[in-house]
C-alpha cells in the first residue's frame, strides 16, 4: 500500500483562551491506496479533505490514529517523504513568482537532486505533452492560471514521485485547460509510474481520472468503492434518448421505463429506466414500435450520485 491510514482523527481547538471549543475536522478516516491507483477524494467544503491531505503530507499531526505514506511516517519523516511525493495545491504555488517558469523547474530539479539526464528527459516530455514551449521563458507572475497549473503539475512530477497528491488542481480553469490537464494526468497514471490522489469539487475530473472514489463527509468515510459500482448502487435511473424519424405519441408501456418525456413535438423522447433493465433490450423494444433515427444512453451524472450520497448520510 502506498497510503495506509487507520482511524485517522484530527481535532482543533478554536475560540479564545477562555471559551475553547473542540472541533473535529477528521473523525475517522481509514484509507488504503495501492500503488498505481487513481483515487478521487470527494466531499463538501469542511468535510475534512484538506485536513486529511495535510496529515498525509506530514504538515499536520493526527490527534489519533495512524498514517503511513510510501512506508514513511509523514510527520516524523517529512523531508524524506518530500522526495518521494509530489503535491499540487490549486490555490497555492510552488513556483518562483518572479522567475521564468523554466528556472523554477531548474530549482526543483536541484532541490530534489534529480540527475541531469533524467531531469532533461522528464522536462522535455512534460513540456511536449502540456504544450508549454511558448511560455517557458515567461515569469510565473505573468502566466495565465491554466499555464501556471501546467507548470505546477510539471514541477510536482520532475522528481518522479511515487505519489502525486492534487488538491483541487482544476479550480478556476476553463474547460479546455481542465481537459488538457486531465488527459495529461490520466496518461501519466496509466503508465503506472505514479499513484494519484485527487480532491476536487469538479466531478468530471473524477469521472475522467479515477477508477475509485472515496467520499467523506463530517470527517468520516461515507463510501469507498469503484466508480462504476457506485453508479450502479446509488445512481438510480439511466435515460434512453430516442430520436424518431416521424413524430409519435409518448411511448407508453415499455418494460422497465419509469418516466417518459416528449420533446421536439414528439420527434425526441427521453425514457428513464431503472438499474434492472438492459439498455439493449429497451432499444430493441422501442425499435419494434417506432422507426429510430438515433439513440443515446445518458449515464446518471456523478453530481446526482454524490447528491444522493450526501442526502442519505446527513445525521438526523
Amino acid at each position: 500500500m502506498i497510503i495506509e491510514t487507520d482511524g485517522l482523527r484530527r481535532d482543533f481547538l478554536v475560540g479564545t483562551r477562555l471559551r475553547r471549543r473542540r472541533v473535529v475536522a477528521v473523525r475517522d478516516v481509514t484509507l488504503n491506496v495501492a500503488p498505481g491507483e487513481a483515487v478521487g477524494f470527494l466531499g463538501p467544503n469542511g468535510a475534512g479533505k484538506s485536513t486529511t491531505i495535510k496529515m498525509l503530507t506530514g504538515v499536520l499531526v493526527p490527534t489519533s490514529g495512524s498514517a503511513s505514506v510510501c512506508g514513511l511516517d509523514p510527520v516524523r519523516e517529512r523531508r524524506e517523504l518530500g522526495k518521494r511525493i509530489g503535491v499540487v495545491f490549486g490555490q497555492r504555488s510552488q513556483l518562483w513568482w518572479d522567475l521564468p517558469l523554466e528556472e523554477s523547474f531548474d530549482l526543483h530539479g536541484a532541490i530534489h537532486k534529480v540527475p541531469a539526464a533524467r531531469y532533461e528527459e522528464r522536462l522535455e516530455e512534460c513540456v511536449e505533452l502540456l504544450d508549454m514551449t511558448s511560455f517557458l521563458r515567461t515569469p510565473v507572475r505573468q502566466l495565465s492560471l491554466g499555464q501556471r497549473m501546467r507548470g505546477e503539475v510539471t514541477a510536482a512530477l520532475l522528481h518522479s514521485p511515487e505519489l502525486l497528491v492534487l488538491d483541487e488542481p482544476t479550480i478556476g480553469l476553463d474547460l479546455a485547460s481542465k481537459e488538457r490537464l486531465r488527459s495529461f494526468l490520466s496518461a501519466v497514471n496509466a503508465r503506472g509510474e505514479v499513484t494519484l490522489l485527487l480532491t476536487t469539487h469538479d466531478l468530471p475530473d473524477v469521472e475522467r481520472l479515477c477508477r475509485r472514489v472515496v467520499v467523506i463527509d463530517h470527517g468520516r468515510v461515507l463510501v469507498d468503492d469503484e466508480l462504476s459500482t457506485l453508479r450502479r448502487r446509488f445512481a438510480g435511473n439511466r435515460t434512453l434518448v430516442v430520436e424518431l424519424t416521424a413524430p409519435a405519441e409518448a411511448l407508453a408501456g415499455l418494460t422497465g421505463v419509469v418516466d417518459v418525456q416528449v420533446e421536439a413535438q414528439g420527434m425526441r423522447q427521453r425514457l428513464a429506466f431503472g438499474a434492472g433493465t438492459s439498455a439493449a433490450e429497451l432499444i430493441a423494444e422501442v425499435a419494434r414500435r417506432v422507426e429510430l433515427r438515433d439513440v443515446t444512453v445518458d449515464e446518471p451524472s456523478i453530481e446526482d450520485l454524490v447528491r444522493t450520497l450526501y442526502a442519505s448520510s446527513r445525521p438526523a
Binding site: T51, R92, W96, I111, A116
Partner: protein
C-alpha cells in the same frame, strides 16, 4: 542536478534583477539621502575638526558606504515569509526536502549580491566623484571588506528571519516590527557612527550583533579598529543567530504541525 543552495543564490540574484524600476527608484532615494547626510556631517566636522577619529573624508566615506550597504544588508524585513506563514503557503516550503533556513539564506545572499551591483556601487561612485573619499590603505582590506559584508548580510538575514517567523505565534507583528524600525538605524550605526555614542552605549552594543550589520563593514573599509575582532564578532553572531533561526523555525513548524495552521 546537484547542490541546490548555490542555485538558490543565483535565483535570489535573478529574482531582483527583474525589478529594474524598483531598483532605480530605491537607488535615487539612497543617493538623495546620501547627499543630505554627507552635507550635514561635512558642515559639523568643518567646525569641530575631527570627532572620535572621523575627519571629513572618513565621515563622507562612512555616509556613502552606509547608503550603499543599506539595501545590501536590507535592514527592514520584506515580510514575505510572515505572509507565507499566515496564508499557509509555508506548508509548501516545509514539505520540500531542503533546509528551509539555509535555502532562505542562500536566496537572500543572491538578493544581496544583486544589491551590491545596482544599489551599492552607483552611490559609492557618486560619493567618490563629489566628495573627498578615504580609500583603504592596504589592498587586503578589500577582501576583508567583502567578507564583512557577507557576514553583515547573514546577521541581518537572521534578524529579519526571526522577526518574520514571529508570525507562527502572533497574528500581528506590527508592534515588534515598529520597535525594530525605530531602533535598528541607530544600533547598527546607520544614523551616526557608533564611535560617537557615549562609552557605556558602545560597551553595551559591543555585546549585541547589531554593529556587525553596518558599522563593522564600514570600520573594516576605513581601517578603524582591530579587523580580527570585528570579523570574529560578526562570525560568532552569524553562527549563533543562524542556529537560533533554525531552532525558531523548528518550534514554529512544530506548533503549526501540532496545533494546526
Amino acid at each position: 542536478m546537484s547542490a541546490p543552495y548555490p542555485q538558490l543564490v543565483r535565483a535570489g540574484f535573478r529574482r531582483y534583477a527583474s525589478y529594474r524600476q524598483a531598483a532605480f527608484a530605491g537607488l535615487t532615494a539612497n543617493v538623495v539621502f546620501g547627499f543630505l547626510r554627507a552635507a550635514v556631517l561635512v558642515a559639523v566636522l568643518a567646525q569641530q575638526g575631527t570627532v572620535a577619529g572621523y575627519d571629513i573624508p572618513t565621515a563622507v566615506t562612512y555616509v556613502w558606504l552606509g547608503q550603499g550597504l543599506l539595501s545590501v544588508v536590507q535592514l527592514w524585513p520584506e515580510l514575505e515569509f510572515s505572509k507565507r506563514i499566515r496564508s499557509g503557503d509555508v506548508v509548501i516550503d516545509l514539505g520540500r526536502p531542503w533546509d528551509l533556513t539555509a535555502a532562505m539564506l542562500a536566496t537572500d545572499l543572491g538578493r544581496a549580491g544583486h544589491a551590491m551591483v545596482v544599489r551599492f556601487i552607483p552611490p559609492m561612485l557618486l560619493g567618490i566623484v563629489f566628495f573627498p573619499f578615504r580609500w583603504p590603505q592596504r589592498p587586503v582590506t578589500w577582501l576583508l571588506f567583502l567578507v564583512s559584508i557577507v557576514l553583515a548580510v547573514v546577521v541581518s538575514f537572521t534578524i529579519r528571519f526571526m522577526l518574520s517567523a514571529t508570525a507562527f505565534w502572533m497574528l500581528d507583528a506590527h508592534g515588534v516590527l515598529s520597535v525594530w524600525g525605530a531602533v535598528s538605524g541607530i544600533v547598527v550605526g546607520l544614523i551616526v557612527p557608533l564611535a560617537w555614542f557615549p562609552q557605556w552605549a558602545q560597551a553595551v552594543l559591543a555585546w549585541t550583533p547589531f554593529p556587525a550589520i553596518m558599522q563593522s563593514p564600514i570600520d573594516v573599509f576605513t581601517e578603524r579598529g582591530d579587523v580580527v575582532a570585528l570579523l570574529g564578532h560578526a562570525a560568532i553572531w552569524s553562527v549563533l543567530l543562524f542556529a537560533a533561526c533554525k531552532l525558531m523555525l523548528r518550534a514554529g513548524a512544530k506548533k503549526l504541525v501540532v496545533q494546526g495552521g
